[in-house]
Symmetry: C2
Subunit: 250 residues, 2 copies
């Protein structure tokens, strides 16, 4: 399983991803799901991947090869981020179609689909954020829906619903993304560290400026989890109690 | 859809359920999913239902009829709560087997299964809490897993994971249950009010002592939601920031 998310707000974009992949409980490995592409002072793009690992890897490799070989369409040629989302959608759909079900014990459950989040900025245009479906079509984030998630999305959604808005600070967005990931890791053992965190500062055109990778047991992860548990327990205890109402409607 | 949960802790049991049912987006209704059975000073039981509404209603009716008619096995005869869990499991499984797929547009998606949470206390024994699967088998809550959920369980799980333990107060348990439901209602439109809330006080043998029903727009629901949004935003803002680490591992 996987959990990746991205947040769009006035100051830029925040990306956060786990690194666990599993093909059954006895085939658990660690793979990066955050990929950066950039051309200095011109464009910066971040791609998050979920779903079939072979499909995701094939798409990421092809993006790199096309850019290196300047062959046909590539990231350097796109006029806006949505063109790159189209291009990734096409690569992903055609990659999935190459492999059809064969016989064997896993034939029934074979699933080559991958889902992607693409965010970034080209030139002077505003940064953009897209979720690319396995079919190749995509949706964008909006002011009413300022974050996108892929993989195991439910556990980590409530905190985003309650906090994320266009005016939040980069620190709040990043903390909230990490808490969203932490909630998910706690509830689903197939989502796990290392966690990759990236803040893309609007108009920096540089995806490497604010990036870090937190290994399992990193002091920051331990600290934020303990602090958060204490904070929300005391916040719950301070909320108005239902006691006065209980018994009202026997 | 449905979301119901129950929490077991030293002071007793907390139950919380939504009331929305839907069979497609244009068939949304409101039905109680919390059912109380009691014999004064002898036993008190609370049943939460999810899944196929016809199956749930048939099981609840049969429980009532068997108790009224003193026919065969009934709630009054059980020596412990697990016996009642067995009995509900049998009623539920046999009810589901009555109806098989017929033709028509919904044949493929027909699903008669129901899942239940049963909690309560008989005589001087400790209170018990069970989750009854559609097949009729059941699991109990434990000190390591002090809450049970049915229906749309993921959105509301993280707050329970972080807060619930044996020593919490009834107020904290109830507030936490309502927040768990509120998070779910916000993320899934097929979970909705009225919300039913019940605190069963250990050894009271009375399920009606602490009960209330909160309609949509109830001032308490509005107040707790606003307070909570403010509390967790300020809690997130007080957490240590990742800023100092970002850039460490470019």
């Amino acid at each position: 399983m996987t959990y990746c998310l991205a947040i769009q707000f006035n100051a830029g974009l925040v990306f956060c991803s786990d690194s666990r992949t599993n093909a059954g409980p006895d085939q658990v490995s660690s793979y990066r799901k955050m990929h950066k592409f950039s051309i200095e002072n011109d464009r910066a793009l971040v791609l998050l991947t979920s779903g079939n690992l072979a499909t995701s890897q094939a798409v990421v490799s092809q993006l790199g090869r096309d850019l290196r070989d300047k062959s046909g369409f590539n990231i350097a040629q796109a006029r806006d981020v949505s063109e790159i989302a189209d291009y990734i959608g096409e690569l992903s759909a055609s990659e999935q179609q190459k492999y059809s079900k064969v016989g064997g014990p896993d034939a029934e459950t074979f699933d080559a689909t991958s889902t992607f989040i693409l965010g970034g900025q080209i030139g002077a245009a505003k940064s953009e954020l897209y979720l690319i479906y396995p079919e190749g079509n995509h949706i964008t984030a909006s002011e009413e829906h300022p974050f996108l998630q892929i993989g195991e999305t439910k556990y980590g959604k409530p905190i985003l619903d309650r906090i994320i808005g266009p005016e939040i600070s980069p620190d709040t967005a990043m903390t909230c993304a990490i808490l969203s990931l932490d909630s998910t890791m706690r509830s689903n053992a197939t989502v796990g560290p290392p966690i990759e965190c990236l803040f893309y500062r609007e108009h920096s055109l540089n995806p490497d400026e604010n990036y870090c990778r937190l290994e399992e047991g990193h002091p920051y992860l331990i600290e934020i989890r303990q602090d958060w548990d204490r904070s929300i327990l005391s916040a719950v205890e301070r909320l108005p109690s239902l006691s006065t109402l209980l018994g009202d409607a026997k």
